[in-house]
Amino acid sequence: MSWFKRIRSGILTSTEEKKETPEGLWHKCSACKFISRTEEHAEHLFVCQNCGFHDRIGSEEYFSIFFDNNKYKLLNPNIISGDPLQFTDSKKYTDRVKQVIANTGLKDAIETAVGKINGKETVIACMDFDFIGGSMGSVVGEKIARGIDYALKKKTPFIIISKSGGARMMEGAFSLMQMAKTSAKLTQLSKAKLPYISILTNPTTGGVTASYAMLGDLNIAEPNALIGFAGPRVVKETIKRDLPEGFQTSEFVLESGFLDKIVERKKLKEHVSFFLEVMTANTR
């Protein structure tokens, strides 16, 4: 009998199995190592066919999931970040932004678009994690504000798909105030009785959780996403002991009472469409 027992799975991988799969043709699931064809993986909306692990995807993919025939119009696609604090850490904030724009082809950590979900015109704001960790700065706040203005004008429902490490430090208190700005706009949406659905994906933490992500008429999450206010590392440092298994997962947050439902990606559109229908049927 051995002295130690491995309790957790996934750390028995032998060296030869650890080889990286070349990018392009094949996709290897980062959770269960299941290998599938890249095209096939995309057809399954980037969810592992074997274990159901949801890969992180961007705004473009979410728009194609939600909008009928992948037809939509981007709103305010050209807003880019200023540099209100002339912030420099290891590099200048302006250089960092320029570089990320060049690398990702994105203008900031959110895209807003209008299109039809099963025939119903809807505005979706979707965050992109690849842009400085999906951090919320002035551009994110402004695009959400303008997206809400558009929804108010056209009387459409509004959806935010969150995916963010929190506020963007390089914009200091300007980032902080985006929490207030977006929440303020959501009160206007509410007064107009237009539905707001918040969809929380992996990860949704910090200032995003502490503002629009938690303020949906419905809060819906993808399975097994990290959702919390303080990041797990900070919580661990504060309490000085290990975190319980499954802490701050979608399932944990649902059990704690802060989500209406966990919905897997392939059923998102169907569910959201149903909720939009029932929430608008008697308000016209």
């Binding site: 402004e142 959780t209 503002s211 309490i239 704690s256």
Partner: protein, 317 residues
């Protein structure tokens, strides 16, 4: 009296003054010339040091162990009529968040704020001014109570952040703060928010949406503490001075960036040198601002409150 590292020259002079007084007392020799000279010197030194504080030093002053906290101000602002109210009606009473009714110049006001402890034992009791979700929910309950009876709200902010614990996450720290920010845009009575010490991130903003948001002179307000910013962006705790500068978190910077509505001056050398005077200055400002806000119609006030925060942000279109 406690002294910060850069207050060392003041401490030495105070020591000298104490000695001079003792000598005068013991020997019966008139030492008034020496003591008044020393007193003047202390005043000048304080003025010089406090006239040239770096951002990091201001952060230190905001955390000065002798600095007055929310309850001190509530008592003086209300001429000792303040009566504390407890509990969120759901989970418990959060000792890091306090609030209650009082009368400001005879007029009813709801006072709400984070409270830090005045000694080691009380600091634990107050959880260092870090509220849990029930603290934010208590604050919201009190705000709605005030709204119901048309009583204006004064929030005094002083927190190193909302508490990042396991139970706080279980009970929805993010939701609690989000709900407060959201509901504060719906509250029909005037709201004045004042940063009286530390204004750390969402924990501060959770009671920080107001018709007027003011900062006392030696306080800070930002999205993160300089220490945490240093540890994340510079990957070391050693760049807190640099981070404090970079974050533009002082009252002057915040006003220049139009993220607050005004600065409330403090007594020479900071609020801790003269807590009574600090409270009187605060009282005067709050009184003036409330009188102005009361004249505006509720719908108009809410509209202006939303417009003000909506205008915050710098981007290129």
């Amino acid at each position: 009296m406690n002294y910060l590292d850069f207050e060392e020259p003041i401490r030495l002079l105070e020591e000298e003054l104490e000695k001079a007084r003792q000598i005068a007392e013991n020997t019966g020799i008139d030492g008034s010339a020496t003591t008044s000279e020393l007193e003047q010197k202390i005043k000048n030194t304080r003025k010089e040091i406090y006239g040239n504080l770096t951002a990091w030093q201001k952060v230190q002053v905001s955390r000065h162990p002798d600095r007055p906290y929310a309850l001190h101000y509530f008592n003086i602002l209300s001429d000792n009529t303040f009566i504390e109210l407890h509990g969120d009606r759901t989970v418990k009473d959060d000792k890091a968040m306090v609030g209650g009714f009082g009368k400001l110049n005879g007029e009813p006001v709801m006072f709400i704020g984070q409270q830090k402890g005045i000694n080691a034992k009380m600091r634990m009791y107050r959880n260092f001014g870090m509220a849990n979700p029930e603290g934010y929910r208590k604050a919201l309950r009190l705000m709605k109570l005030a709204e119901k009876f048309n009583v204006p709200i004064v929030c005094l902010i002083d927190t190193p952040g909302a508490y990042p614990g396991i139970e706080a996450e279980e009970r929805g720290q993010g939701e609690a703060i989000a709900r407060n920010i959201y509901e504060m845009f719906n509250i029909t009575v005037p709201i004045i928010c004042v940063i009286i010490g530390e204004g750390a991130s969402g924990g501060a903003l959770g009671i920080g949406v107001g018709d007027k948001v003011l900062m006392m002179q030696y306080t800070w307000y930002s999205v993160i503490s300089p220490e945490s910013c240093s540890s994340i962006l510079w990957r070391s705790w050693d760049f807190k001075e640099k981070a404090a500068e970079a974050l533009k978190l002082t009252s002057e910077d915040m006003l220049a960036n139009k993220l607050i509505d005004g600065i409330i001056p403090e007594p020479e050398g900071g609020a801790h040198v003269n807590p009574e005077e600090a409270a009187q200055i605060l009282k005067q400002t709050v009184t003036e601002q409330l009188a102005k806000l009361k004249k505006i119609k509720p719908e108009k006030r809410i509209e202006q409150r939303i417009k003000k925060f909506e205008a915050m942000g710098v981007f290129e279109d």
